[in-house]
């Protein structure tokens, strides 16, 4: 299968099934196929990091033996992303976020809290519909978070830098640090908003007129330790999410101590969107049998305009 893409082949197979049934047998035309498990095995080998025993990474839905028709990377495997994946002919979704709304990431609603441990949760139409959609469309979902983010350089930081148009503005050799032409915090926030396609999720702490030349990137969900270690070294931090009793209060105090510093929060998922675009580019040569595309999950939040 050199000239004919896998998707084109599938389309041909679907439309020409009756007239030319031989087309349905990939072996007869020498088509290379790959299973989800094989893709994952290659990813694990190529990742170049030690595989953890306690990890959120792994298959979350579907049969790993499924032949892959196309691969989608995303920061969040929402129903919307899954619909777009199916429309694009893909059946393997590689996501940095959970699929079933929790760290446990299992296809049934959580029991316990508020009902008493051991009490079965009532049927949930959202879980049910997502499971149905996965089953009907024979999708396979694999989470790739812990082992993608520990790679060097940090692909989520690199993705953010690229989305901001500052890939070449790296400070020294640190993917998490940028040195850019002087800009106000307000103008920087506006640039971030437009470049990462933020809607209502973006929030800023600090004086709007603070001058920013050095930037630290903290994609994902980050601790006060991360913020306290980085903010003294840069003019502003662009982060995914933080705890509000931690980093945003710290940043507020820093600003009120007269320091021209800022903290821009874009949200966890949105901060990881661009890093999953890099993931698609990285995957492409690892899975030449199937088209690989990035589907951004986008900003989950909006804000009323008043």
């Amino acid at each position: 299968m050199t000239a004919l893409s896998r998707r084109a082949f599938v389309r041909l197979g679907a439309s020409g099934a009756v007239a030319a049934p031989w087309v349905l047998d990939p072996a007869t035309i020498g088509a290379a196929t790959v299973t989800a498990q094989e893709v994952v095995d290659r990813v694990r080998k190529a990742a170049g990091v030690e595989w953890k025993t306690a990890t959120v990474d792994g298959f979350k839905a579907g049969d790993p033996a499924t032949s892959v028709t196309g691969i989608v990377t995303t920061s969040l495997a929402t129903i919307d992303v899954m619909r777009r994946a199916v429309k694009a002919g893909a059946n393997l979704i590689i996501t940095s976020g959970p699929t079933f709304y929790s760290r446990a990431d299992v296809p049934t609603p959580p029991a316990g809290r508020g009902r008493g441990a051991g009490v079965a949760p009532p049927p949930d139409p959202v879980f049910a519909a997502k499971n149905d959609f996965i089953r009907t469309n024979k999708l396979v979902v694999w989470r790739f978070s812990d082992h993608w983010r520990v790679r060097t350089p940090d692909p989520f930081a690199q993705g953010l830098a690229e989305a901001l148009g500052w890939l070449r503005n790296r400070t020294h050799d640190d993917a998490s640090r940028l040195t850019v032409p002087v800009v106000t915090l307000e103008a920087l926030a506006a640039r971030v908003k437009s470049r990462v396609d933020a809607r209502g999720g973006i929030r800023v702490v600090g004086r709007p007129q603070a001058r920013v030349q050095t930037i630290g990137l903290l994609p994902g969900t980050r601790s006060i330790q991360d913020t306290v270690a980085l903010l003294p070294q840069v003019d502003a931090i662009i982060a995914g999410e933080i705890r509000e009793w931690e980093s945003s209060e710290y940043a507020r105090d820093v600003a009120n101590a007269g320091r021209g510093k800022g903290l821009i929060l874009v949200g966890r998922s949105l901060s990881e969107d661009a890093g999953m675009k890099l993931c698609a580019e990285w995957l492409r040569p690892l899975a030449p049998e199937a088209p690989v595309r990035w589907l951004p999950a986008g900003d989950p939040y909006w804000r009323p305009t008043t």
């Binding site: 006060i224 270690a229 903010l231 945003s248 009120n256 939040y301 804000r303 009323p304 008043t306």
Partner: protein
């Protein structure tokens, strides 16, 4: 009067058992012997709040939340910070400021003022509450977009965040406060309003769940006011309550306000 006497009266009037093992409701600056010139209540003992309290002649601060940017107010977590930590400590010492946090006790108290204040400010009137203390309100039917706009106007916050279809018809609201954010998958709830919750990898991640509900046409909404905004209103009730048993010194709400702005 001393800070210790104020704390004793809080414990005596609480109407709920004091948690002796709490690491939250303790002195964060000064101690029981510090003489009190006046009391400022607030949601966060931010540097700005401390300065405004001192300028108003109030040297005892009773915040609901942290002083040193971590839940345990463990100074070793932040003591390496060269930007504000030393300055904040020096200011506290120079002005003989005593800080006593009331977090666990405030949530143990009935009613919990954080809910009372938030409901008051948001316009979730008692006549809409399904039962006293349920924090569940049945409102006249509206849309998620109209509800969010009304709440934002009432609470005056700049950076509230909403997930869900703005056109979804909603009426059943569950109110949470701070980080105590109810799960969105209760079949009897259309909208969760609260302060803060982590976006993914929790017990039930509301943003993704509500996005999926919206994709399916199931009316669900999630409105995050921000931690400070969602719990600050109730500090007014707290102020009035303390005034009732501490008549010797002025007691005043010094608002921390919303830390965020939106581009």
């Amino acid at each position: 009067m001393t800070a210790g006497e104020v704390v004793d009266r809080i414990k005596k009037n609480l109407g709920a058992p004091w948690r002796d093992t709490t690491y939250r409701d303790t002195f964060k600056s000064g101690g029981p012997d510090t003489p009190v010139t006046g009391i400022a209540t607030t949601v966060f003992a931010s540097f700005d709040v401390i300065q405004r309290a001192v300028e108003a002649g109030l040297n005892m601060i009773i915040p609901h939340e942290v002083t040193y940017w971590n839940d345990r107010d463990d100074k070793t977590v932040v003591s390496a910070d060269p930007l504000v930590y030393t300055q904040k400590l020096a200011y506290l010492a120079a002005h003989n400021v005593v800080i006593f946090r009331t977090h666990d006790s405030m949530h143990d108290q009935r009613p919990d003022f954080t809910y009372v204040g938030s409901a008051r400010e948001l316009g979730l009137e008692p006549r809409y509450e399904t039962a006293p203390g349920s924090h569940r309100f049945t409102l006249p039917e509206t849309t998620l977009g109209a509800l969010a706009a009304t709440l934002q106007r009432r609470i005056g916050a700049r950076a509230i965040r909403v997930v869900g279809d703005p056109g979804a018809k909603v009426r059943r609201v569950q109110l949470g406060v701070g980080y105590a954010t109810p799960a969105p998958n209760d079949a009897d709830v259309d909208v969760v309003i609260s302060g803060e919750q982590q976006e993914v990898d929790g017990f039930l991640d509301a943003p993704e769940y509500v996005l999926d509900a919206a994709a399916l046409g199931i009316p669900k909404g999630w409105i995050m006011l921000g931690h400070a905004v969602s719990e600050e209103a109730g500090m007014l009730e707290m102020t009035q309550w303390i005034k009732g048993f501490v008549p010797e010194v002025p007691v005043q709400l010094v608002k921390a306000g919303e830390p965020f702005w939106a581009p």
